[in-house]
């Protein structure tokens, strides 16, 4: 590909003179995990504090249907634009992201318009969307690389994936820098936030959409079964030992980064899937944080 990018990769190789850092796929994986893990953890802080783990689960599982719809469109696209190759690689990730954001917006819209408890709304969406995916698959006898999305496979990520991930990370970072405080007030009491001039509905949609994007992008790394853990586990570990709202953010980022990088390296030598290894290491962080908070003397309540 382009010259400067090649130079960057080869300097990265010489900077990291280890076996694991030599293959191109590992360098791509490293560059993705380097930003995706901390970004997921940072969004996870909001997910944990706003009790949105189930929302994230619903998005990731409905991503399955997004992928199915993508494969459904592949023959159609190939007929219309025969000059473009590999529609089966382009379309499913695209429909996955679009569908994920749409489901997120749908859940948010229904939640705003009914008095139903949030988990009930999510449960209804969750089941209906997956049912749709299953129905479409079996009616059309679809064949596709569904396993890639179920379990994730970071090692087949290319430079384009690196680019997309870094762009997404920049957007998320900017969003969390600009709206972290306001999101906190909204979560504490929506009326209070509105009385302080915060456009709570707009923030709610923006956060849901961004969370849906993060979830759908992470699916390619850790798989839709594990993506919620990527958000929730580092943040949950951070909750155990942090002493302030800002501290929880940085602990989560640190746990995310540490488990992401060590998980990736271990997976190379242990021949395990990278996504699962990363989550296992995050779980180790969580257990360590539990022990640390149990040992630490508590301030009297």
């Amino acid at each position: 590909m382009s010259g400067p990018l090649d130079a960057f990769y080869s300097s990265l190789r010489s900077l990291l003179p280890f076996d694991w850092a030599q293959p191109a796929f590992m360098l791509n994986a490293l560059l993705i995990v380097l930003v995706l893990a901390p970004i997921c953890a940072a969004m996870g802080v909001k997910v944990v504090n706003n009790r949105m783990a189930f929302f994230s689960d619903a998005i990731s599982h409905s991503a399955f249907t997004g992928v199915v719809l993508g494969y459904l469109l592949v023959p159609l696209a190939a007929r219309s634009y025969p000059n473009i190759q590999h529609w089966d690689l382009i379309l499913p990730p695209l429909t996955l992201a679009v569908f994920g954001v749409a489901v997120g917006a749908g859940i948010t819209a229904v939640r705003h318009r009914t008095t139903l408890p949030t988990d009930t709304v999510i449960g209804v969406f969750f089941a209906s969307v997956i049912a749709l995916g299953i129905a479409v698959i079996s009616r059309n006898n679809l064949r596709g690389d569904f396993e890639r999305y179920l379990y994730g496979s970071i090692v087949i990520a290319g430079r384009i994936d690196v680019l997309i991930t870094w762009s997404l990370a920049a957007v998320v970072l900017l969003f969390l820098a600009l709206s972290f405080n306001r999101l906190m007030l909204i979560a504490l009491n929506e009326s209070l936030a509105r009385s302080r001039g915060i456009a709570t509905t707009a923030f709610d949609y923006a956060f849901s959409a961004l969370l849906a994007l993060v979830v759908t992008f992470s699916i390619r790394t850790v798989g839709l079964l594990l993506v919620t853990a990527m958000l929730v586990v580092p943040a949950a570990a951070a909750r155990n030992i942090a002493r302030s709202a800002g501290g929880m953010f940085w602990w989560a980022v640190a746990f995310g980064l540490a488990s992401g990088l060590t998980g990736l390296i271990i997976s190379f030598y242990a021949d395990t899937p990278a996504g699962a290894t990363i989550i296992l290491l995050a779980a180790v962080c969580f257990i360590a944080s539990m022990l640390a908070s149990a040992v630490r003397p508590r301030a009297a309540a």
């Binding site: 972290f180 009326s191 509105r194 002493r243």
Partner: protein, 275 residues
């Protein structure tokens, strides 16, 4: 029928509510609400559960679709600033969120994870200090008692330098000592700031002891006026039903700190608690 009861014309209302109706899911939650809230006084908005007190507060905050008119009297050419004190916060009690985090999330735009500015910290400390709660600054939100949390929420509202304070059941679920302390703080603020306060309450003793004006409602406003003239057994019965007199009587005897019942015309301004 309730018009002739005691629609008082308030000389200088801070807020005027006219013919306000609110429908939620096809049900009339508020119908034809007319009320005046006098400037610079503490008005208690009382009524049984489900009377629409909080709904009316949300209408004043312009957070609910309604028909009718809500007019705020301009203060020096600007619309009055409203400080809203909610009944509670919804949070994970184990979350590492400190009082200062919440206060500064309102004070500074810079994300909390990029650090709390020293000016925000100072402002938060000053607001707590004003109501005698400076020791709460670095405490965790989840460790606060109901009364302490209310004081923090009040301090947050004070940071806005409000012309009107709206308080939603501030002493619900707060113990007697906490109620007394909170009421003393309100009385003190009332003297210092001269701001208009509207307090939603179903607790008669608090109302009678501290509010100079009352609005009694149940879906609609049944009566309003000076506390002494308005909290009569007849009016209470009209909104709370036949058991009201009993309910009211019981309240006037419970808790030595609030020994005034409506029957013996409380001394509204020079009231002090015996802690």
């Amino acid at each position: 029928m309730n018009r002739d009861c005691c629609t008082t014309n308030v000389a200088t209302p801070a807020v005027t509510v006219r013919d306000v109706n609110v429908q939620l899911a096809g049900q009339n939650v508020l119908s034809n609400v007319n009320a005046d809230f006098p400037t610079g006084e503490l008005t208690a908005l009382i009524g049984p559960n489900g009377a629409g007190k909080t709904t009316l507060l949300k209408v004043l905050l312009n957070q609910l679709p309604h028909t009718g008119q809500v007019r705020f009297t301009q203060i020096n050419g600007h619309t009055p600033r409203i400080g809203y004190v909610p009944q509670s916060l919804d949070f994970d009690r184990g979350a590492p969120i400190r009082v200062i985090d919440v206060m500064c999330s309102q004070l500074q735009h810079r994300a909390l994870w990029l650090g709390i500015s020293s000016s925000a910290r100072k402002a938060a400390a000053a607001a707590l200090d004003r109501i005698g709660a400076s020791k709460l600054l670095d405490r965790r939100l989840g460790q606060l008692s109901g009364g302490e949390l209310q004081r923090v929420l009040l301090a947050m509202a004070l940071l806005l330098q409000p012309d009107i304070l709206l308080l939603d059941e501030p002493v619900a679920g707060v113990d007697m000592a906490g109620v007394g302390m909170f009421c003393d703080i309100l009385a003190q603020l009332q003297r210092e700031l001269k701001c208009t306060m509207i307090l939603v309450s179903h607790d008669m003793s608090v109302t009678t002891a501290h509010a100079s004006y009352v609005v009694c409602m149940n879906k609609t406003v049944h009566c309003q006026g000076r506390t002494i003239d308005t909290l009569t057994p007849e009016n209470l019965q009209a909104i709370y039903g036949p058991l009201a007199a009993l309910h009211h009587h019981a309240h006037s005897h419970e808790g030595a700190g609030h020994s005034h019942g409506a029957h013996d015309h409380p001394d509204l301004h020079g009231h002090h608690h015996n802690h």
